[in-house]
Amino acid sequence: MDSNRYEIRISGSGGQGIIISGIILAEAAGIYDGKYVCQTQSYGPEARGGSSRAEVVVSDDPIDYPKAMKPDLLLAMNQKACDTYIFDLKPGGILMVNSTLVKQLPTTRAIAIPFTQMARERTGKEMIANIIALGALASLTGVVSLRSLEAAVLSRVPKGTEELNKKALEAGIEAARGITDKSEEIGMEFYENIADE
């Protein structure tokens, strides 16, 4: 039964671009890659600072239940998100964290990339950390093609920020490649913890 169903949960705090990341990912997989997608979200009544969560389900078949049941991938953009959702992860699923804001990893199996720090250093804008994370996520999982992701990002971001966002995507893709290469060198599964700071 829909064995190709892939569930992603992106979580962090309001203002980190969590929900727009979910929308971009869903548009890349659904409209540009032609798969079935469902994107849902959950947030509190606050505009900023509250917990924020977006989920994307991707499948080759029509999707019945629209939410993630056991995420295949959890992207935690802050410590609280990591602590709250880590145990929902499917056994063998991928935990990817923003190591600038996630300092305590509850498992040795995690991909830690300092998205916020990279955003600050490479573009001068912390808020673009979500796009760097999307680049890394797509590169590691292959759940969307990089070309579709780029098209979806460019269609959703404000005019005049296209180059900046492209640069952010590339930074994310590069960071993920660094991790896969390194894990091959030392003979580890790529999702083992390689903090790269």
Partner: protein, 381 residues
């Protein structure tokens, strides 16, 4: 949002956005509303989509006025709609009754959130099922349709307008927070491919027009105000010319016609979707976003060798008895999962008349019932 335009294309849309596209495809050209979570996106998107098709969008001072405005617009000949959530829907009840007795076609979207009162604005519930049926006072028939996917939000909205026009009645679309906010890829047909039904207009000279005349369908032709057909519209029980009456034969005539025009067309109005019901031994009856969990649970139960089936109710009112009743006779047990303490399950039990075992699965914590919860009940039932 950047690609929001009708016409033969695939888009990633929220349920709320798809409702707007369905309304516009069905010919809706007037929207009056007051924003409220989780229905706000309907007002927001209407505010720029309607002007683009020469329609009118008005943000009203409250929901009482919103309902009044769409009744007025419809009497003037426009297909009209409003959208709200529980607290606003409560305020609309009085004018909704006016639309019932004056036979004014219009569509009201209620995106359910947790309640009563302001409740839990950002979370899901199905607490308003009975309110849609009996919210406005007095004995009256009503049509209520529920949606469970983004594609439904488009196509059921078109159907809602068609039924409203065909039977001169308000039609309520019952959505919920999950359906309204889930983004899915949907296919928007080219405007020419959508079946659109318009109200029958009078074809006699204005002097001969009898505005509430009985017809074989029970639905009198409807003139638009300003076209020369002068008539009286009132919330009082009225005679065939629209003027208040207390004559028992005229009172009975109007009231029975209001029921007859809906009842004699049950088969046109009742819509359900079935999954694996042919040889089912246990049946789930679900609607709205819960139907998606029920569909998955049914498939998982089948994969484990249980002969499970499900009926998804699209039409909630009038209750689709003709479909549900024979199914109840065929199966061993029935499960009704819903996000309240039992509203549709009461209807199922009424129709069942104690013949088959009917169990309920209720969740009232602001979250959607999961497929596992339904599956674990199906395994035990």
């Amino acid at each position: 949002m950047n690609a929001l335009k009708s016409g033969g294309c695939q888009l990633l849309l929220q349920g709320n956005e798809a409702i707007v596209e369905g309304a516009i495809a069905a010919g809706c050209r007037f929207f009056a509303g007051y924003p409220i979570t989780p229905a706000t996106e309907i007002s927001e998107v209407m505010s720029y989509r309607l002007p683009a098709v020469d329609g009118t969008f008005i943000q009203m001072e409250d929901e009482i006025a919103s309902m009044g405005a769409i009744v007025g617009a419809s009497l003037a000949g426009a297909k009209s709609m409003t959208a709200t959530s529980g607290p606003g829907f409560s305020l609309m009840q009085e004018n909704l009754g006016f639309a019932c007795i004056a036979e004014v076609p219009c569509v009201i979207v209620n995106v359910m959130r947790g309640g009563p009162s302001t409740g839990i604005p950002t979370q899901v519930s199905q607490g308003d099922v009975m309110q849609t049926r009996w919210g406005t006072h007095g004995d009256h028939p009503i049509i209520v349709l529920s949606v469970s996917t983004t594609q439904d939000c488009f196509s059921i909205t078109v159907k809602a307008f068609n039924l409203a026009e065909k039977y001169r009645t308000p039609v309520i679309i019952l959505a919920d927070e999950v359906v309204a906010h889930t983004r899915e890829k949907i296919f928007l047909p080219h405007p020419g491919e959508v079946e659109v039904i318009d109200r029958i207009r009078p074809n006699m000279p204005p002097d001969w027009y009898i505005p509430y005349e009985d017809t074989s369908r029970g639905v009198p032709p409807m003139a638009a105000f300003g076209e020369g057909y002068r008539y009286h519209v009132t919330g009082l029980v009225h005679d065939s010319r629209g003027f208040p009456t207390q004559r028992p034969d005229e009172v009975k005539g109007l009231m029975s016609r209001l029921f007859r025009k809906i009842n004699q067309h049950f088969f046109d109005i009742q819509m359900v979707e079935e999954e694996a019901t042919e040889d089912a031994e246990v049946l789930t009856v679900a609607y709205g976003s819960v139907a998606r969990s029920a569909r998955r649970a049914t498939r998982e139960a089948r994969a484990r060798g249980i002969k499970a089936g499900m009926i998804q109710l699209v039409t909630l009112w009038p209750f689709p008895r003709q479909v549900v009743e024979p199914m109840l006779r065929k199966v061993r047990a029935v499960l009704v999962p819903e996000l309240n303490v039992g509203q549709v399950s009461r209807e199922v039990k009424r129709v069942n008349q104690g013949v088959t075992r009917v169990e309920t699965l209720n969740r009232i914590d602001g979250n959607l019932i999961t497929p596992e919860e339904i599956l674990s009940r199906l395994l035990k039932i």
